[in-house]
């Protein structure tokens, strides 16, 4: 799974720590999400998308997905 978290985080000038605080998770969780290692629950995906003012399908995608 790929994400655009890092890209959007940079756009809003947020650090991983800032985003973690906004979402209410540990910084490491944001790190693993960005690396595509951790598959979040729908609730966490929604919270991250909301914090970055985007939608879940804009934020998370799989390689080969029609964009």
């Amino acid at each position: 799974m790929k994400t655009r978290i890092k890209e959007l985080r940079a756009r809003y000038d947020l650090t991983q720590e800032d985003l973690a605080r906004k979402v209410g998770v540990r910084r490491e969780t944001i790190l693993f999400l960005e690396k595509g290692k951790y598959n979040p629950s729908l609730k966490l995906a929604h919270d991250v998308a909301q914090a970055l003012e985007t939608t879940i399908d804009e934020l998370f995608f799989f390689e080969g997905d029609p964009r």
């Binding site: 720590e17 973690a20 605080r21 998770v25 910084r27 969780t29 690396k35 290692k37 951790y38 598959n39």
Partner: protein, 133 residues
């Protein structure tokens, strides 16, 4: 239960465990059981190192205003617990096989310690790896 209460309860439980193991180590040493005493003191040292590491993480999270536990850590714990249960079945089997070579009445204690160790190591591995599925 908030983070402060949870941390205080965990710290109390770990302190009690360390104190109990230290007392056990001292009692065994006083009875002249040097090897058993050394093992107990080894566990005490491992627990103290682990507690110091955990305390450092707690302090760091508190300073940053971030939670100690979240969805990822809860999933990692659940995954480590199921792995520890599965691995413990094999551990029990091995302990029963080598029962005659082990100190008497130590089987349950060894099995519980082994399960706890498997859980702890697997949890640390998952938390470092970042992939819990």
């Amino acid at each position: 239960m908030n983070d402060t209460t949870r941390t205080a309860l965990k710290a109390a439980a770990v302190s009690l465990l360390i104190l109990t193991m230290a007392l056990l180590g001292y009692t065994l040493w006083a009875r002249g059981k040097v090897v058993e005493s050394g093992t107990a003191m080894g566990i005490v040292i491992a627990l103290v190192v682990f507690a110091a590491f955990a305390l450092r993480n707690v302090a760091k999270s508190a300073r940053q205003g971030l939670p100690l536990e979240d969805e990822f850590t809860k999933r990692a714990k659940a995954s480590a617990a199921s792995f520890a249960f599965y691995a413990s079945l094999y551990l029990w089997l091995a302990l029963m096989y080598f029962e005659d070579y082990l100190p008497e009445h130590r089987l349950p204690g060894l099995a519980i310690l082994g399960s706890a160790l498997i859980f702890g190591l697997r949890y640390l591995y998952l938390v470092k790896r970042g992939r819990v599925d």
